[in-house]
């Protein structure tokens, strides 16, 4: 099967042709230099006129980014590290194409890290937008999704104190490489898309809003969805319970007994959710550390009381959260997945959210254990 055999000397025309093909038509011709490209870091989407969408693209100026500039970041320089291009179109594809009319440079979306949707658009439903984002191969499926109250432009125009670029701020928050808190649960594009279709869970996204000082962004709420439509929000204090019950990575959070003026820091947790005998059993175990700064006059014999009060408080807050989610017909915790597993593996998403989920009853148990007792008398 060797055919003509190893006649290397006669291979040179073939090798030359392969090299020419590799370098010219299939490879290095028509390459654009990096300084002729605009790299979009954040996309903002809101409803446009006539049922279309309005898109805002936050394009980075490479010299203002520490990781891109050879001289480091431009600390102290007054101009913004990025600029916003906006366009309106019948759909996301149309609007993104129209952005090209407003830029002298090629626009690359491969480095987009975050997509912000206005709450108004999210209430109408994000199915079309998500479908487009997933199908456009240039965009990474690991970009983060977040919601803004009103237009995303004020968030995109914000010049945060540090890091200077709002894109970096959002990446630091969502990647949990910078700020890490259980009160923000980041969600990536592929997860959001997955939860839109999987019967046992529904999408969620942090709500980002600017504060009046024009230097600070905050995530005080989490938006919860049915399949693709925004149904309501839950406050950040409750988001930590969603995080704990989802068995997400353990992140810092606190539990406070206001009357006693004592705070506890979470060391570890374990949650179990099972559907048995016609109802959900929700069990949450918390390992806590008495926060040194608030230890105050606490005596050792008060610890048992504190644990009991914490158990009651957390139980009440979880029951309230579950009732709110039932009212909203949203299931970001993934209770439907437990229900599906307990019922042979099949579940209709609509039936679960509309009829079954609101009917469920919960037996919530919380067991807090104060592991470190700090400087006690």
């Amino acid at each position: 099967m060797t055919g003509s055999g190893p006649r290397t000397a006669k291979k040179w025309p073939v090798l030359l042709l392969a090299a020419v093909l590799t370098v010219m038509p299939a490879g290095c011709m028509g390459v654009k230099q990096v300084n002729r490209i605009s790299f979009v870091t954040v996309l903002g989407v809101e409803p446009g006129a006539d049922g279309g969408v309005r898109v805002h693209a936050l394009a980075a100026i490479p010299a203002k980014y520490g990781s891109l500039s050879p001289d480091g970041a431009s600390s102290g320089v007054s101009s913004a590290p990025d600029y916003i291009l906006s366009a309106e179109g019948a759909d996301l594809s149309d609007a993104l194409y129209k952005l090209k009319r407003k830029s002298a440079r090629d626009i690359q979306f491969g480095h987009t890290k975050v997509v912000l949707f206005s709450d108004e658009l999210a209430r109408q439903g994000l199915a079309n937008q998500m479908d487009f984002l997933m199908r456009r191969e240039e965009l990474q499926s690991i970009l983060w999704i977040a919601i803004t109250k009103g237009s995303p432009v004020p968030v995109m125009k914000m010049r945060t104190a540090t890091p200077e670029a709002v894109g970096d701020w959002l990446v630091d928050i969502f990647s949990q490489a910078g700020s890490d808190t259980a009160e923000i649960i980041p969600i990536m594009l592929y997860q959001f898309y997955d939860y839109m279709f999987e019967p046992g869970t529904t999408p969620y996204a942090a709500v980002i809003e600017p504060l009046p000082d024009e230097q600070t962004l905050t995530a005080k709420e989490m938006a919860v969805f049915g399949s693709d439509k925004l149904l309501g929000t839950i406050p950040a204090e409750d988001v930590k319970y969603v995080s704990l019950l989802r068995n997400s990575k353990v992140l810092p959070t606190t539990f406070t007994l206001p009357e006693e003026q004592i705070s506890f820091v979470l060391l570890n947790e374990n949650s179990k959710i099972a559907w048995r005998n016609g109802r959900f059993k929700v069990r949450l175990e918390l390992k806590l550390d008495l926060d040194q700064t608030s230890a105050g006059e606490m005596k050792a014999n008060r610890l048992a009381d504190a644990e009991a009060k914490l158990n009651e408080k957390a139980k009440g807050e979880i029951e309230k959260l579950l009732a709110e989610l039932q009212r909203l017909h949203a299931d970001p915790i993934g209770l439907g997945e437990r229900y599906r597993l307990a019922h042979g593996g099949h579940l209709d998403k609509d039936e679960w959210l509309r009829r079954l989920f609101p009917e469920q009853t919960f037996d919530v148990q919380v067991k807090a254990e104060i592991q470190r007792k700090g400087m006690l008398e």
Partner: protein
């Protein structure tokens, strides 16, 4: 000390291993499987690999008994002079189908990802490059596979393990799911597509004249089936079954879920796809050479470079007509069914015929 610059022997099962592992994560295998049998696809790889290995074992047994050079020429020993040319033609069509599948897939994939543009242009360039690569003799292609086993495959397998970080295991339940068993023939055909290179097993391995190659092939094919099943399961566990049925390329989506903060290969998906493309070039070149070789054998002529060029031209003309959105999945089923016939049914038929003629293999 003089370094050994030339190996004495090429281990062909490695070439078959690299080719099948490359095909195992393609869109035609994984996406067609998700659409036709859902979660059942996770375990369906096991009976399919057993069937293919059984067919290969029968083929090698027939070849050894008839003392022919390959399964294609074994028919001559049974007294029919028409059998070998027909047999070579049938296998040539199998490899041509496999080549066309790979070129359609690569052209379509790269026209949507790294080199956004006209898929027909990329299919044309791909066919030219692959046919140029196929001008290297089969030993060179096999040695290239050896190098890939050393330098490409370990990193590729390592990257393939990373989706374990993002897996949601409950998505795999129930693994045996009768309501999802929509089209078992299409599902089996989809898996059989990845075993097309095994059609060349009797052409290549009888040269080694020992049983070691079949043992090695068995182990490597079981490993490929395990890998394919793992990647299929990871696709469902990371993206959910509903999404895997909707997206264009399941394995690409699975690699896309990997995120490694502050790592040089932060876009690890790109790295995995780059390594996969190296294997695609090798696999396509191997199948093109096999297709043209079988055709030349049918005509009883020696393989020449211009045969490869003619084949490239035919491929380009046909594939440019076939580059349509819905054609690809249908083509996968045809090629898969044909692969099932040639890898399992054909050796069984030949074996039965030999038995009927009283020549027990």
């Amino acid at each position: 000390m003089k370094l050994p610059m030339r190996e004495r022997e090429v281990h062909y099962p490695i070439l078959l291993f690299i080719s099948t592992i490359c095909l195992s994560i393609t869109r035609g295998v994984q996406n067609s499987l998700a659409i036709s049998v859902g979660r059942n696809g996770i375990w369906l790889f096991a009976p399919c690999v057993a069937l293919v290995l059984f067919g290969t074992w029968l083929g090698m047994r027939i070849v050894r008994r008839s003392q022919a050079g390959s399964l294609m020429s074994a028919g001559a020993a049974l007294g029919s002079r028409w059998w070998p040319p027909v047999s070579y033609l049938l296998y040539s069509l199998l490899f041509a189908g496999g080549s066309a599948y790979m070129l359609l897939l690569s052209g379509d994939f790269f026209s949507r990802t790294l080199l956004y543009g006209d898929s027909k242009l990329l299919i044309t360039l791909g066919a030219i490059l692959i046919c140029l690569a196929a001008t290297f003799n089969i030993e060179s292609i096999a040695r290239n596979a050896h190098l890939m086993t050393l330098f490409i495959l370990p990193l590729f397998l390592f990257v393939s393990l990373l989706p374990l970080k993002t897996a949601q295991w409950s998505y795999l339940y129930p693994v045996v799911d009768p309501p999802d068993w929509h089209d078992p023939v299409a599902g089996t055909a989809a898996i059989m597509t990845m075993f097309i290179p095994l059609g060349a097993s009797t052409l290549l391995m009888t040269r080694m004249k020992d049983k070691r190659s079949f043992r090695s092939l068995t182990v490597l094919m079981l490993a490929v089936a395990l890998f394919a099943s793992y990647m299929y399961a990871m696709g469902i566990a990371t993206q959910g079954l509903a999404v895997t049925k909707r997206i264009a390329f399941m394995a690409h989506g699975t690699y896309g879920t990997i995120r490694i903060e502050n790592f040089v290969f932060e876009r690890i998906m790109f790295l995995a796809m780059l390594m996969w493309e190296y294997m695609c070039v090798l696999t396509s070149a191997f199948m093109v050479r096999c297709a043209v070789f079988c055709f030349a054998q049918m005509l009883s002529v020696r393989l020449k470079h211009y045969h490869l060029m003619i084949f490239a031209a035919i491929l380009i003309v046909l594939l440019r007509q076939a580059a349509r959105p819905q054609f690809f999945l249908a083509f996968t089923i045809w090629v898969g069914c044909y692969s099932m016939l040639m890898l399992a049914a054909y050796p069984l038929l030949l074996y039965g015929w030999m038995l009927a003629r009283g020549r027990k293999p």
